[in-house]
């Protein structure tokens, strides 16, 4: 599996989206990871430091959008830029879907985020790479009831 988990944290360390693709983490471990990673990433200097961190037996790729950190944990052998750009792809989709997305959209629509993720990633792998197809599918789901 390429992506172990995706986190969206705000600057205070509050999680706005947590998706564990890998189910072998224990609950205690999950909480520790989130606070560890927030500490690690929020202290980094965006000008002089890369968007990648080797962390335990994995790599974190992350990028900050306004007050939110989008973070993915990937395997050591995986292509950093590819997943970094995939996070950007996710952000672009959220932006269209929520019509200029902001942190509050994520708070109030937390349950929808999972449905959106399920159309882009599945089982820790990239599922769809066409923005238009994903947006069409999301519109279709919204019509269902």
């Amino acid at each position: 599996m390429a992506i172990q988990f995706i986190l969206v944290l705000n600057r205070q360390g509050r999680s706005r989206l947590v998706k564990w693709f890998n189910n072998s983490y224990k609950p205690v471990e999950k909480n520790r990871l989130i606070s560890d990673i927030h500490r690690l990433i929020s202290s980094r200097d965006s000008k002089h430091q890369s968007n990648f961190i080797e962390y335990q037996q994995h790599k974190l790729v992350y990028r900050r959008y306004a007050g939110l950190f989008f973070i993915a944990s990937i395997n050591l052998g995986d292509n950093e830029l590819s997943y970094l750009e995939s996070l950007h792809f996710l952000v672009e989709i959220l932006d269209v879907y929520f019509n200029e997305v902001c942190e509050l959209d994520l708070v109030f629509n937390f349950y929808k985020l999972y449905a959106i993720l399920d159309e882009i990633y599945l089982g820790g792998e990239i599922q769809e790479i066409s923005k238009q197809k994903i947006l069409n599918r999301l519109a279709e789901i919204d019509k269902l009831d």
Binding site: E85, I129, S130, D145
Partner: protein, 1075 residues
């Protein structure tokens, strides 16, 4: 766009956000939970009442689907806020929602289950996943069997999200490779049923593409849990691999790559070659031919994520190693020229694309992601140094980039490139210029870059670059940087320097000087207070100084020299620069053990080597050291006491032992007490000399440093094992219920006897730790682990006949009616190889001595009948049955067939006969294709036999024939030179039939009886057999033994020993068929 908010949920979230403090938030949450609880309770109460009384009237307190959904969402929100205990509502409510026929309710139900179903702290991952399966099985099956594809998708989402595990993680957690599901598990049937259903979704042509991609990903998840399914259903593999031919939906293709990678790298490597050709063709289409559908361009880059995934699969396939032989599974020579050409042009295009200036980060990143993925393939694809040089230069250029990401990734790519090739070998002068530019650049990065992870990568690259001729330069460069480097990096720097010095040092003085210089730069003893015993060990790990000690102990010539160096370092650093504690540790050990070797020597400089001076160095260090170091020094002083009984410092030692008996530290107190007794008690002399006996040589072969070397090896990936899920071990597990793990040997028992005194450390620290500190104990345990792992590996090696087959040679089932074509090919040079309703395969054989070329033409039979194209035509496998180590013939695919066949396509197979080919070594070709929605696979054998290399001799007379016949009889008498057999043909033959047959095979017919004679049939022929090693003359006589021309005797004589039998049996096979 986002519509249909749940009002109640929104206002609840608002309330919580507006809470003044935690207390208010708590209150609001408790209120809500009580509310939800009572709502659900009433709902069920009312439901029960209504079913009992059969009243149809709608009750007010019964909840609507919308309300249930809203309450469940609130619960999820509360859970996500961190109130995990408050939301233990069980699974009844969510399961009810899952059973709903309203999409959003079902969706919420699944979401709730995946978030709220918690793993209990006591249950293992296996138990947890099986519990979840028990709860969900019914719902999942129902939704997968539903006719509503949206429901199918929800079930597939659930499977992929909740049953997904990381096998690597489990491996490191557990002691042996465990699978979550094994065939003998009670619920294996449930998992199998689910996997079956998902498989049919993934491969069915009538299911929508967007459902199929979800199914493919879910299938991968299930296979990881239960690899037994794919191993026992090996017929699934070709259908899964045919997903690679889904060329119009790139989403489906992207989703399929991980599964295909899993199968080709973990289940069966035999499809590696055919997979490679398909991928190469695909990469070419996307990147060079620009055949990417419009909707898949991302900032005008064609499907960047797919490209990266395909390239990375290519890399994994090249890195595959056959566990048994240790050879790579796939090399350049295995691939056909089209595939190689495709891959090469893709790589050069990637490099070209990224060197052009582009606007916008997304495009730039996408291009670079492709570049870095592609560049690491150069090493596999180019025999020429020029191309590698180009890649190395491009990456060196990128090291100057202003973007931190680019520098970081360039370093990473250089590590791969250099680590995998023999680029950094001493003899390789081809890259001297590059290295002369690169190495100073790296030193610059090491000292100037602002990102510590860049420095770490730089260090890794320097480590990779180091060789026997540049090591002094590199090590000195790193050492220069060491005092200024970041605290977090110091430990790593020290270990890398230590490993490199040990690996390359040719001169012992240089080694000792370098290493002692290194550890003398740690935190000074004074800086780390005595209460903080780990003061300096966090910088330079204990492994480093322990390793130096081990090497000094094992190398006699270093011992005196090290003593001198230590004294000189300690004298130099006296004053403002206090001595490093690591030096004190090494000094304590080395001077205690070997100090006596130099006491009578005179120093070149100002250093004093006398026992008194040695003692004072350690004694002054004692009070500035941490507790563990002090404990070590006590032992050193005991040795001083034993060696120099008349020196003036002896009372100081006794005093120190006496003070130590009052220490609050248990270790020091114990040592103080025991050593005091040894020094003062009567009759303790003998015991003392035993206790301070000289240290034995270390026996461990592997340096403990290697375990700390970091990720370099992982990045390079050269030593990556193919880690196949081994069907054989699964079989073993089936037969013996308990997994076949060797029990760990009781600690200490496996250690060689020489280490015995050393082992005592753990049990009786004080007395027997004569010279080494407490930490050694851990070190020993590690070595035990290593041995354990090794023995385990050996076990699996022995148990394994061939990792790619089922241990025993698998019986291949060929497609029906294959033999007609096979038999035809035995004797005719052209004709029909195979035909069914979909395809007709023609062949032509072109012989050139030991080289035989088979030209195949595939004709689409369905074009006439149904008017459809054959699609996804692939040569899945071309497997020779010759031995792998020294094959009698080599087989190679010349060019690939077209994938889509409207009318016909061709491909060639080239055979090189190296030696005498036995008759049971013919290859099997596996083809797969789709025709009008049906998936077809053909497995056909075609003959590669020695007889096929036959060419006719010059015209020879019967007399000559007879002479040679006798010659062979003399030189190779008996079965060596001659083979006689009898055969019965299906049809009556006359003499000219036999003559034509022999002529067809290439014999020069020397003699034949006329047709229709009473005397029967006698035909004689001669020919030459070819192999790369040698040519052989062969003579054949065929004689009828009945009156009707059905029974024959075949006699073959040949100039090569044992060949006549091979040729004879081929002839028999030809005769026995119809002709």
């Amino acid at each position: 766009m986002a519509t249909k908010q749940m009002k109640g949920l929104n206002s609840f979230i608002m309330d919580l956000r507006n809470s003044r403090d935690v207390e208010q938030e708590n209150k609001r949450i408790n209120l809500e939970i009580n509310n939800i609880q009572s709502k659900f309770k009433h709902h069920y109460a009312s439901n029960e009442v209504s079913t009992n009384t059969n009243s149809n009237g709608k009750d007010d307190i019964s909840l609507s689907g919308y309300q249930k959904k809203k309450y469940i969402c609130k619960l999820i929100y509360i859970y996500l806020l961190g109130y995990s205990e408050a939301t233990n509502f069980g699974v009844r409510e969510p399961l009810n929602l899952v059973a709903s026929t309203v999409y959003s309710e079902k969706q919420t139900g699944y979401l709730a289950l995946s978030i709220l179903f918690k793993r209990s702290p006591t249950s293992s991952l296996k138990e947890h996943l099986n519990d979840l399966m028990d709860v969900m099985n019914g719902s999942l099956l129902r939704d997968l069997q539903s006719n509503n594809e949206d429901f199918n998708c929800l079930a597939l989402h659930f499977i992929s999200s909740n049953f997904n595990i990381d096998n690597e993680r489990i491996d490191t957690e557990g002691s042996s490779k465990i699978h979550i599901v094994d065939d003998q598990d009670d619920n294996a049937r449930q998992w199998l049923e689910l996997t079956d259903l998902v498989f049919s979704f993934a491969t069915s042509p009538i299911v929508a593409k967007h459902t199929r991609k979800k199914a493919v990903l879910a299938l991968h998840v299930l296979f990881k849990l239960y690899p037994g399914v794919i191993i026992s259903n090996s017929n699934w593999v070709p259908r899964i691999l045919s997903l690679l031919e889904e060329n119009e939906d790139l989403g489906l293709l992207t989703s399929s790559i991980p599964l295909i990678e899993f199968i080709t790298t973990s289940i069966s490597a035999k499809y590696a070659k055919s997979t490679m050709s398909s991928i190469a063709r695909y990469l070419h289409r996307l990147l060079i031919e620009d055949a990417c559908p419009k909707e898949y361009y991302y900032y005008s880059v064609p499907a960047p994520w797919l490209l990266v995934k395909l390239l990375s699969l290519v890399e994994s396939l090249f890195l595959l190693v056959d566990e048994k032989t240790g050879n790579t599974v796939l090399t350049l020579t295995d691939l056909d020229s089209t595939t190689i050409g495709n891959l090469r042009s893709v790589i050069s295009r990637s490099i070209q694309n990224s060197s052009q200036p582009v606007k916008g980060l997304p495009k730039k990143n996408s291009n670079s992601s492709i570049l870095f993925q592609a560049v690491s393939l150069v090493i596999f694809l180019n025999a020429s140094n020029e191309a590698v040089k180009g890649a190395v230069n491009a990456l060196i250029y990128l090291l100057d980039s202003h973007e931190t990401n680019t520098r970081y990734l360039s370093l990473d790519a250089l590590i791969k490139l250099i680590g995998r090739g023999s680029i950094s070998d001493v003899g390789n002068v081809f890259f001297t210029n590059e290295f002369n530019i690169l190495i100073p650049k790296l030193f610059h990065l090491l000292s100037r870059d602002k990102d510590v992870s860049i420095k770490r990568k730089t260090l890794d690259l320097l480590y990779t670059l180091c060789n026997g001729s540049n090591y002094i330069n590199i090590i000195n460069g790193i050492l220069e940087f060491y005092p200024h480097c970041e605290y977090s990096l110091k430990g790593e720097v020290a270990i890398k320097v230590a490993v490199l010095s040990e690996k390359y040092a040719t001169e012992s003085t240089w080694y000792v000087t370098t290493m002692l210089n290194l550890i003398s730069q740690g935190t000074s003893a004074a800086a780390s207070t005595s209460t903080n015993s780990h003061g300096s060990s966090t910088q330079i790990g204990n492994e480093v100084w322990e390793r130096i000690v081990q090497i000094i102990v094992n190398n006699e010539e270093l011992q005196a020299q090290s003593c001198k160096k230590i004294i000189s370092l300690c004298n130099k650093s006296s004053g403002s620069n206090a001595v490093s504690e690591n030096i004190i540790k090494v000094g304590g050990f080395v001077l205690g053990e070997y100090g006596h070797l130099i006491v009578n020597e005179k120093s070149d400089g100002d250093d004093d080597y006398s026992a008194e001076s040695q003692f004072q160095i350690l004694f002054s260090g004692y009070f500035r050291s941490s507790l563990s170091t002090r404990a070590m020094l006590l032992t050193s002083f005991l040795k001083f006491f034993e060696k120099y009984q008349d020196e003036p410092f002896i009372p100081d030692i006794i005093d120190l032992f006496e003070i130590s008996t009052q220490s609050i530290d248990l270790e020091i107190q114990t040592r103080g007490f025991e050593y005091l007794k040894l020094c003062t008690a009567d009759n303790s002399k003998e015991l003392l000399s035993v206790v301070t006996r000289q240290f034995p040589v270390f026996e461990k072969k592997v340096s403990p440093l290697m375990s700390r070397i970091g990720n370099v090896e992982r990045i390079v990936g050269r030593n990556r094992s193919s880690s196949f899920v081994n069907p054989h071990t699964i079989q073993q597990q089936k037969s013996a219920k308990s997994p076949s793990v060797t029990p760990p040997p009781a600690s200490g028992l496996t250690v060689p006897p020489l280490n015995a005194p050393f082992k005592g450390v753990g049990q009786h620290r004080s007395v027997s730790t004569l010279s080494l500190p407490v930490t050694e104990e851990i070190d020993e345990d590690e070595s035990n682990d290593d041995e354990l792992v090794e023995s385990r590996n050996q076990k699996t090696f022995e148990g394994e006949e061939d990792p790619f087959h089922d241990g025993v040679k698998e019986k291949v089932i060929l497609s029906p009616n294959w033999y007609h074509g096979y038999h035809r090919m035995l004797q005719y040079d052209a004709g029909i190889f195979y035909e069914n309703q979909f395809v007709k395969i023609l062949y032509r054989i072109i012989k050139a001595n030991s080289n035989i070329q088979y030209k195949f033409t595939i004709i689409n039979n369905a074009a006439k009948t149904a008017g459809t194209n054959l699609t996804g035509f692939t040569i899945l496998d071309l497997e020779s049955s010759a031995s792998k180590t020294d094959p009698n013939y080599l087989i190679q695919l010349g060019n690939q067939p077209e994938q889509t066949i409207a009318d016909k396509t061709t491909f060639d197979v080239n055979i090189k006969i190296r030696n005498i080919v036995e008759n049971d070594e013919s290859p099997i070709i596996t083809l797969s294709f789709n025709s009008g929605g049906s998936f077809n696979q053909l497995k056909l054998k075609f003959p590669v036999c020695f007889l096929r290399t036959l060419t006719s001799t010059n015209q020879i007379e019967l007399e000559d024939f007879k002479k040679r016949w006798l010659q062979i009889g003399e030189q190779l008498p008996g079965p060596q030179g001659e083979c006689i057999s009898r055969t019965l043909t299906n049809y009556r033959c006359n003499s000219s039939n036999v003559v034509r047959l022999l002529a067809r095979l290439g014999f020069n017919v020397v003699y034949s009886t006329p047709d229709n004679t009473e005397a029967g049939i006698l035909v004689m022929g001669a020919g030459i057999l070819h192999s790369q090693k040698s040519n052989y003359g062969v003579l054949v006589t065929i004689r009828s033994t009945d009156d009707v021309g059905k029974e024959f005797e075949i006699i073959v004589r040949c100039t090569g020993g044992g060949i006549s039998e091979v040729i004879n049996s081929s002839l028999r096979e030809v005769l026995e068929g119809k002709f």
